[in-house]
Every structure is written in C-alpha cells, then in structure tokens.
C-alpha cells in the first residue's frame, strides 16, 4: 500500500500523489492518506477518492495537544510519521508491504521495481546525494554543501518502504519513541525532524537497502549530480550510480513551492538550464491545479502551535548574510592587548 501524510493545505498534492501511484501500480493500488490536521475543516462537499485516516483517530487527545503545543506544523507532521505507519500496518493486517511518500512525491513509472527491491530487505532508504560534490578548498560559495546534509540527515525521510516483519515493528517502535520528544529542528543539538534519526537505521536494524539508483527520488538537491532526458517517450535519468534509468519518482519539494523544504536558498542547481525538469514541473503544476488547490491553501494547519521559520529572500536575505559575516569577523579578529 501507499501511505502519505499531509495537512489539509497539502491535500491536493497528496491526491495527485495517490493518482500517480494508482496509475503505475497494477498489483497493489491501495492508498491511505494520513491527515495531520483537523478533518472538520475539510471544505464542505469534499469527498476523497482515497480513505483518510486522521491523527485524532490514532493519538489520544492529551498526547495530540502536547505534541501540537511543542512543535511547528512541519515538526508535528514529522513526529506523527512512525505512528501513522505502525497504525497502517495494524489496521490493514493483509498488507505485507508499505511505501511511505511525502505529498510532494509523484510517481512516473511502474512501482514494481520498488516492490521487488523490498523482497529481500526490511527497509528502503534513499540518500539525498549519492556522490561527493567537487569542492574547491574552503572558498566554495555553492550551497547546499555536504555539511548541510550532515545537519539534516543523509537519508531522505520523504520516501521510505517497509516490509511487514518483526524488525520493522522494532524499528517503528524505536523511531516513534524518538520523535515524540525529539523531532525539533535544532542542528546544534543534532536534531532534525524524524529524518536525522534514520542515520541510525542501517546500524541498529538488519536488512536495510540504501538505493542510489538515479531514477529514484529525483529532487532539487540531487539535480546537480543527475541529468534527465527523454527516450522513446519515457523520462530517463543518468547519475553517479547508473545510466538511462527510468524516472521512478520525483520529489517536488522546493520545486513546486520554493519556500518548502530545506533548500530555499540553494544555488547549486540552476533550473533554467534544465529544460527537462522545467517541463516536468510545469506538468506537475497543471496536475495539481486540477485539484483546486486555492480552496485548500487558505486552511491554516490545526496542529503545530510553534511558528515556522520565515523564509527571507532577495535584498533582505543578502543583507542579513553580510551582517552575519561582519559579526563573525568581529568575533574572531585578533585585537592586540593594550597595556
């Protein structure tokens, strides 16, 4: 089955994800939308083509309230992920394998290769990047650099696949325990949502596949290491770990809404130089527009009382950057002692 988790605002993208999954999944077209939001706020008359599982049905009210009070909406949704996945396995006992995908993800080829990868493993992880960026000393101004990925975790929590097993149960129990209290974004403390915890997964748990296929999980962050082309009507991807791989799925985080995700200030991928990705984004925008996003965009997330970090752009951002640089200089410049 496919499980996604969204707020009402993200519901149009979640529905589009569901449609893309159904289109390419002949064998297992079951889809569930986990709602990290208040279902009573749904627009009147809306009916979902896929079952919606609200977080209220899983967590007791007092736990929900506590989580909501301590987290931002992004952190809140992240903190609900393990419990949603565990609940999906519990509610649907006939389900043997589960893909979790962020609503920004869109499938564009048959799901079968994902299922067959899962045959011999318990979990699938996809790294943000699969090859070192060429960096020239300490003078590079390109961002994100490798350090930025260390802060957020090297495996992207927007796509995961699980097989029902004792090991999966153990992993979900551990992960759930960690994110209830520690899904904050705080790099200095080693915290970043549910995602950075995945760094422990290949060590703590057995049979973990790290898939580096360039056709899997194409996103803003790995465009510099990959290139897309069309071959006999199909998108194919070249990358460090393979050539001419079918485009399996894209994550449009930061591509659809530039303010979303970890890389609003990235300057490594230059989209204007990649016509293929531009046309993919255009198609995606059209697909989403069919889901009347304007009705949903105005709904404020019901959970996550803490304010999200504001994304500042343009001259304001540049000015802040230079002032911070001056401050760093003032902190570190050698001042001779006056006697």
């Amino acid at each position: 089955m496919l499980l996604t988790i969204c707020t009402l605002r993200q519901l149009p993208q979640a529905l589009a994800l569901g449609d893309s999954f159904r289109q390419f999944s002949a064998t297992d077209p079951f889809i569930v939308i986990g709602l990290a939001d208040d279902p009573t706020q749904l627009p009147p008359g809306f009916t979902s083509p896929y079952p919606i599982l609200p977080i209220q049905d899983i967590l007791p009210v007092d736990e929900l309230r506590a989580l909501s009070a301590q987290y931002t909406p992004t952190e809140f949704a992240a903190a609900c992920k393990p419990v949603f996945i565990a609940e999906a396995f519990r509610r649907y006992p006939e389900i043997q394998r589960l893909i979790y995908a962020d609503p920004n993800i869109h499938f564009s080829a048959s799901i079968d290769p994902i299922w067959s990868q899962l045959e011999n493993t318990n979990f699938i992880l996809t790294p943000f990047i699969t090859r070192d960026f060429a960096m020239s000393g300490n003078t590079t101004k390109s961002w994100p650099d490798e350090k930025a990925f260390q802060n957020i975790g090297l495996y992207n929590a927007d796509f995961l696949a699980f097989k029902r097993s004792a090991e999966t149960e153990r992993m979900l129990a551990w992960w759930d325990n960690r994110v209830r209290e520690r899904a904050f974004i705080n790099f200095c403390a080693g915290l970043c949502l549910d995602q950075i915890w995945l760094m422990h997964v290949p060590v703590f748990f057995r049979n973990v596949a790290i898939v580096k296929n360039p056709g899997w999980h194409l996103g803003l962050w790995n465009l510099p290491e990959r290139s897309i082309h069309s071959a006999s009507g199909q998108w194919q991807v070249n990358g460090p770990s393979g050539q001419n791989q079918p485009l399996q799925f894209i994550n449009y985080k930061g591509l659809y809404n530039p303010d979303e995700g970890f890389f609003p200030h990235q300057n490594r991928a230059i989209l204007s130089k990649q016509p293929a990705i531009q046309s993919l984004i255009k198609n995606y925008q059209q697909t989403i527009s069919l889901q009347t996003p304007s009705v949903f965009e105005v709904i404020h997330p019901a959970y996550g009382q803490q304010p999200e970090a504001r994304i500042i752009r343009g001259w304001r951002y540049k000015t802040i950057q230079s002032m911070q640089e001056i401050n760093r200089f003032i902190d570190q410049v050698y001042l001779p002692a006056i006697r």
Binding site: N138, G153, N177, I320, M323, N327
Partner: protein, 348 residues
C-alpha cells in the same frame, strides 16, 4: 601484507607501545607503524623511551602545505586531520600492503583478527558503529551525540588497498585540509563525522556489527564481559535491551578494546566523557560494571610498564598556545547595530 598503524604525539607513546605489544602477541603477521605528530630529534629521548616499533614523523609524509594546516588546527584537530594522509602515504609507499588498518593509540587488541582479515578480502572499507543498538537512556553519550559527531567511531578503520578505498581516502583528505574542525552547528566534528558519507557515496562498505570490535564506554550498555574456560574475554549482549524483539543472546570474543577518555591516574573512572556507568558506586546512582574493571586494570598496568609517566612529560612540538580572544564586551558592543538590523529584517 597487512599494515596496522596508529597516530600520536610523544606524550602518548606509552599507549602506542601498549597497542604495538598487543598486536605483536595476537597478530604478529601485521606490520605495525607509529605515525608521529611530533619530532623525535627535538625530544632527545633516552634509550628506554625509544620504542621498538618504526616511527614515521608527520612532516615526512609529504602533506601539501602542512605548515598552514598546523596553523589552522589545534592539537586534536591536527592529530585527526592527518589520518587519511598517512593512509595515502602507506598506499603509495608500501605497494605490498594489501590492507591498511588504523587503530587509535588507546586501543589494545586481544585476539587474532581473523574475521576482520577475512572481511577485508571482500570489503573496501570496514567501519565500526559507536553502538549497534539503541542507547538505553539519555545519559552521555546517547544517540544524539552520535548524530552530532558521527555514527561510526574513527578510532578504527580497516581499508583494502583497492580503487574504492583510494577514492574514499582522497575525498576524505580533501575535506580534512580545511574542515577537520569541531563545529556541531555546522555539521563538523573532526575527521569522524565526515565518514557518515562512506556507505552513501561508496558501495562495498561493511558496517561491522561484531560486538567484540571497538568496545568502549559508548557501547558498554550492549556488551557484558566474562572470561571463558580458556581464560579469554568474551562478550554477551544485554539481557533486556530496549526495542528488541527477540532475546537471542550472542556471545562473541573480545577483539579490541578502546580505552577512550581513561586516565591511569584515576583508576576508578571509566572515562571522562561518559556519565552512564561506574565500576562500583556506593550510592548506586549509576549502573555498576564490575565486569569491565579487570580490563581497565590490565590496561593501566601495561601503560605504567610502558613508561606512561615519563612520556606524558613531553610537550608536542606542534602545540600552539591557545588563541585567547580579548575584549568580548567590546566585540559585543560593535555587533549591536548589525544584530538590530538583522532582527528588523527577519521580522518584516
């Protein structure tokens, strides 16, 4: 030929000799070299302090612009930054070294490393995680510390001399020229945090879950010690570990122990970096681990026999006086207008 090496300054030569002694007893086929971040001739060591192992001084391995690196780094950073440069030097200087193994000087080896030798026949890199299972509480160190400073402990790394390992070493070298610093907020922790990338960038990397490898204060919670009938140390997993589904107890022989943060002057302390365990504690506020005490007492005895008291007197020639930044208040004052502009821009 397998080349084993460590890196230290003269003040840590007792540790390096103790490691060498243990290797000679357990793995006599390894060629052992001490990489020295120091200058022997400057120290003018008496005869008994000249180790019976080859020493290779760091200024002899051709690190480009080594002087600038010394200026940039403090002693911890410098000692860790040179690690891949030594490996690279060994690759180039000893073409018959088919495997290179690094051990921190405060490690000793207890057994012939047969499994490791076998693993290095197939894998390009062998890495040891700080802990193979979830940490039981939020005492120090816990999972968060490992997220900040690196999943794998770089007191040990095994490398085959193949194409993949060479590519890894070259990449690691490049990173450590400038970014072998400690700055957790920026995702930096000396040479160690970088190695998180190894299984992501390179195939053929073994994350070794052997309970007998790199045993140290950071994994005592999952490893309990006893001696078998032959008098060899063996390790059993914890009896009721957190987030465990099966209760299969594995018993594995102790391969090598890492005495990180142990001070022979304080024989009752496991490590200055941890808060979880004590050997014995009358107040019983921490879990007591009398089972590991003999391993530490043995190490202490070997260190003292190997002239620890004498070696520790020698200051490292690469040590610089710590940079003291004066006028903190003046600096703060100068920053005030900039901070005001920043918060103004961020709120509008």
């Amino acid at each position: 030929m397998t080349l084993a090496f460590t890196i230290c300054s003269i003040n840590y030569l007792a540790q390096a000799r103790t490691l060498g002694e243990s290797l000679r007893q357990t793995n006599p086929d390894y060629r052992y070299i001490i990489g020295l971040v120091d200058i022997v001739s400057a120290a003018n060591l008496p005869d008994e302090l000249i180790p019976d192992y080859p020493m290779l001084e760091v200024d002899k391995i051709g690190i480009p612009d080594f002087g600038a690196m010394c200026d940039r780094y403090d002693i911890t950073e410098l000692n860790t930054a040179v690690k891949p440069f030594f490996i690279d030097y060994f690759y180039k200087t000893y073409p018959d070294a088919t495997e290179v193994i690094y051990f921190d000087p405060d490690i000793i080896v207890f057994q012939p490393l047969l499994d490791l030798n076998k693993a290095l026949k197939t894998y390009s890199l062998v890495l040891t995680p700080h802990t193979c299972s979830p940490t039981p509480d939020w005492e120090r160190p816990n999972e968060l510390h490992h997220l900040n400073t690196g999943i794998f402990n770089l007191g040990f790394i095994g490398l085959r001399a193949d194409e993949t390992a060479r590519r890894f070493v070259n990449w690691w070298k490049e990173r450590l020229v400038y970014e072998c610093r400690i700055d957790l907020c920026e995702g930096l922790f000396v040479d160690q945090h970088w190695v998180n990338f190894a299984p992501v960038y390179y195939d053929n990397v073994l994350i070794d879950h052997h309970l007998g490898y790199n045993v140290a204060y950071w994994n005592l919670h999952e490893r309990y010690f006893s001696k078998n009938q032959a008098g060899q140390w063996q390790i059993t997993g914890a009896i009721d570990p957190p987030f465990s589904s099966d209760n299969e107890t594995t018993v594995e022989p102790l391969q090598f122990f890492h005495y990180s943060g142990y001070n022979p002057d304080r024989p009752d302390e496991i490590s200055k970096y941890q808060t979880r365990f004590t050997f014995a504690d009358a107040s019983q506020t921490k879990e007591q681990r009398p089972d590991v005490r003999p391993l530490f007492d043995f190490y202490r005895e070997r260190l003292l026999a190997n002239y620890n008291e004498q070696y520790r007197q020698y200051p490292c020639v690469y040590i610089k006086p710590p940079v003291i930044l004066r006028y903190k208040r003046v600096r703060k004052f100068l920053q005030t207008p900039f901070n005001q502009v920043i918060s103004l821009l961020e709120s509008h």
